[in-house]
């Protein structure tokens, strides 16, 4: 069998493409859900960690540390295979979204915290001196500036979340990787796997480039 027949077999590719596309939609759907939930959770955690009353602040710190320490794959397996013993049974999609966003929230929280702390002290003081309340100080003055600072690392983190969706194939999630392995078994040919790898790259490469662009733009503004 020639190299092309084995790894880049056109007819296998065409046959399995629908399967791969259905996997890709799930990968993207899962990725987007986890990213959005992770961002919301991360922002809440960051605000709690910085400004929450002491007990909540400690809980936020503990959460952030624990979920950055636990390997995502382990968490995923725990959520899907262990929680049912406690009566908590989730679909593969829910389990994967949960595990991904719980971890992403912890990382996002640290990024947002660094962003908020990166806003100059004078901005907080000017906002306070004008009589703005705590909510308005954040929403109108601090967060718009902090978010500009965190766009590159948040994009980076989102790339990681998208990549980590592939781990969901271990909980029988029919995502791109899972579909590709299944298609390879059906076709007895690795072309679907190679295709899936290429699809991941095509999906993520522009985002990786984008991070670089954002970083340069931010650096240029800082000068």
């Amino acid at each position: 069998m020639s190299f092309f027949d084995a790894f880049l077999n056109w007819s296998v590719f065409v046959q399995t493409l629908p399967l791969l596309i259905s996997g890709l939609t799930i990968t993207i759907g899962l990725g987007l859900c986890a990213i959005v939930l992770g961002l919301i959770g991360g922002m809440l955690l960051a605000l709690l960690r910085l400004y929450g009353p002491s007990p909540l602040r400690k809980i936020a710190i503990a959460y952030i540390d624990i979920f950055r320490a636990i390997p995502l794959l382990v968490l995923l397996v725990v959520v899907y295979y262990a929680l049912p013993f406690a009566g908590l049974r989730f679909t593969p999609f829910t389990s994967a979204t949960l595990a991904l966003s719980l971890v992403s929230a912890a990382y996002s929280a640290e990024i947002f915290r660094a962003g908020i702390e990166g806003v100059p002290k004078g901005q907080f003081e000017a906002a306070r001196a004008l009589g703005l309340n705590a909510f308005r100080r954040m929403s109108d003055v601090i967060l718009p500036q902090a978010i500009k600072l965190v766009i590159p690392p948040i994009t980076s983190n989102s790339i990681n979340v998208l990549k980590d969706t592939a781990l969901a194939s271990v909980v029988a999630m029919p995502d791109l990787l899972k579909q590709a392995t299944q298609a390879q078994a059906l076709a007895a040919n690795p072309t679907p796997l190679i295709s899936a790898a290429l699809i991941y790259i095509v999906l993520l490469l522009p985002l990786v480039r984008l991070v670089g662009v954002f970083e340069r733009r931010l650096a240029a503004r800082g000068k």
Binding site: E125, A127, G131, L132, K148
Partner: protein, 245 residues
Amino acid sequence: MMAPIIDMKGVTKNFGGFRALDGIDLQVAEGEIVVVVGPSGSGKSTLIRCINQLEEHGGGTIEVDGHAVRKGANLTAIRAEVGMVFQSFNLFPHLSVLRNVALAPVRVRGLSWHEADARARKLLVRVGLEDQIEKYPAQLSGGQQQRVGIARALAMEPKVLLFDEPTSALDPEMVGEVLDVMQQLAKTGVTMIVVTHEMGFARKVANRVVFMDAGRIVEQGPPQTLFDAPRDPRLRSFLNAILSH
């Protein structure tokens, strides 16, 4: 005499073990222009920052227009009546000049954007920036930025204006334009407390000059008396140092 608009009694403030304010008694009447001078580190900034609680004081009492200023008090309401102009301007870089000025009237006073923009325009004309309204702070010179800073504070129609070395970060050729605006302002009857090293301004505009050293008010009085007949040796050496450079 009418009740003072600012009333500080025995105010102290420590930073760690360091005593930055050591028993400050200061009463400022409505409409009065008080200039605060003193060597670096004497506590001038700390004093005015306690008035709007950017710094929390330790001991003593502070009242603004009869309202006690302390932790847990309704600080946003008090701050709404006390405008502040910073040495480093602290304009909001993500907002246009107009929105810098209009923001607090909308968010704190409950004006509509339409009303607040109109108020902001008027004030920006008053400080000579009618052509810069749509620009962003980074596009302005230091002197222009500081005039926006003044307009921003004025937009809240505060009872008291605090200035912390408003011209110290400016290139010399821009100091005049900011002092001119402040001098105009002084004629409007607003109460002003100004920390500055601009002795010419103090002489022309101040009703009273307060000299601080090591966290205390050492001497105070009308500018002529204080500058031309200083009694305390610390004030004398401070004035000598300033005049000799």
